[in-house]
Symmetry: C2
Subunit: 274 residues, 2 copies
Amino acid sequence: MNNLCYVNGEILSAKDGVLGISDLALQRGYGVFDYGRTYNGKLFHFEENLTRFRNSANELHLKVPLSNEEIISIANKLINESNLEIPAIRLLLTGGYAESTPPLENPNFIMITEELPTYPANLYEQGCKIITSKYQRELPHIKSINYLNAIRLEPLKRKHNAFDVLYYTEDSITECPRNNFFIFSGNKLITPKDNVLYGITRHMVLQLASEHFEIEERKVSLEEVFSADEAFVTSTSKNIMPVSVIDGEEIGNGKVGERTKTLMKLFDDYTTAF
Amino acid sequence: MNNLCYVNGEILSAKDGVLGISDLALQRGYGVFDYGRTYNGKLFHFEENLTRFRNSANELHLKVPLSNEEIISIANKLINESNLEIPAIRLLLTGGYAESTPPLENPNFIMITEELPTYPANLYEQGCKIITSKYQRELPHIKSINYLNAIRLEPLKRKHNAFDVLYYTEDSITECPRNNFFIFSGNKLITPKDNVLYGITRHMVLQLASEHFEIEERKVSLEEVFSADEAFVTSTSKNIMPVSVIDGEEIGNGKVGERTKTLMKLFDDYTTAF
């Protein structure tokens, strides 16, 4: 693997990128990030990542030190000079060093190219199995680095041989730690509206679906999920991944639904043409 | 300032301590810490820090790579070789590097000596002013690095000229981001029992108080707080700091209460003799 990073103005091999131990992400979990991908070597809807990244930073009183043009230029340089099959790019902005004054005014800004993770074909052909867990992400609209609960649940996922965890709170579901969640009830495509992170893939799926299905963005109960005809999750690396089983119960007939297949095809056509 | 750190086996100047940018605390907020202090150059109740640190690590499926004896020995070396007025020591254990396999089995372990922060005498003589904010810390018994909300509230504190923020949830209060919270109602010393981090100073205050006051560890409502006779916060660096005003309302007569003064004296005698 030969991937590069950018750390506060310097481009170097990702394995050589470091931050001092008084960084506020390290000491206080204070940071935001974003994660974009490429298709055919080109950054994909990256302006949406940048808009979200700036919003996240703003909510944490942090200022992104570069313009969009500068970030895009560095991202392309990193991608072109890294040797990756499907380059992805991670942006990370932290609170800066604990001792810097005034606080938060000298954030540390990092960009890293990474190989986009891929997933076994059978998960797309047969759907994945997930479990549910009661939890509400703090400040859900902000793409903060707080994945403590998500990583802490990894052993539970392994125990249940689950691909992912669907969070719920009281009686309504929200999202998975790294994915948005959708169901089909007949021809209605339904996804939670509040207390979730607005994924860029989520947004594209809603756009692509709008010409073919009725769309409802609203509160979704656990009961509705279990009685849904089809279910799937979306993310930058997974695109649309069908969900066939939740907490051991089959969704619909336990196979990948036809409407989900239609959306997967639409998405695939869109990205292939990109 | 001349303070030292220990990073994965190496002792160096704290300003030279670094971690790679794929560290899971940096990328995913996945880490725990603890913070101990000295009196008269000697580590103070540090075994309690170590016990809590191991519990926190355990809850995050992380293993502290050194024995207590090894940590104490390194801590003393760092303290003796740093040039600090009141040395404090921070322990930090992260999830390790994102690419390490199996995950979480090679945590990064850091120790840093720091100057203990001190606070103006008038805060102890007149009491501090705090504000309230609705929030429940995630996994409150774990001393994780997640202080995102606390740091995000700093501008609100500055706006209200407040020394600290008291968290509440529904109708009961819990703690401040870095302090435990107590009230006196007559001769009863009352402090929340659930959904708080058990501070080492909190524990000592309860022990010292037990010979002089009736103690109740239980749910404490916001109404009770506003009608309390006295209030104070406790922490490793603040010891016992009286609270005179909350959300602009005076607690008791708005001065430092006599029972709080008694506890401050008891605490002071105890630590002076240490």
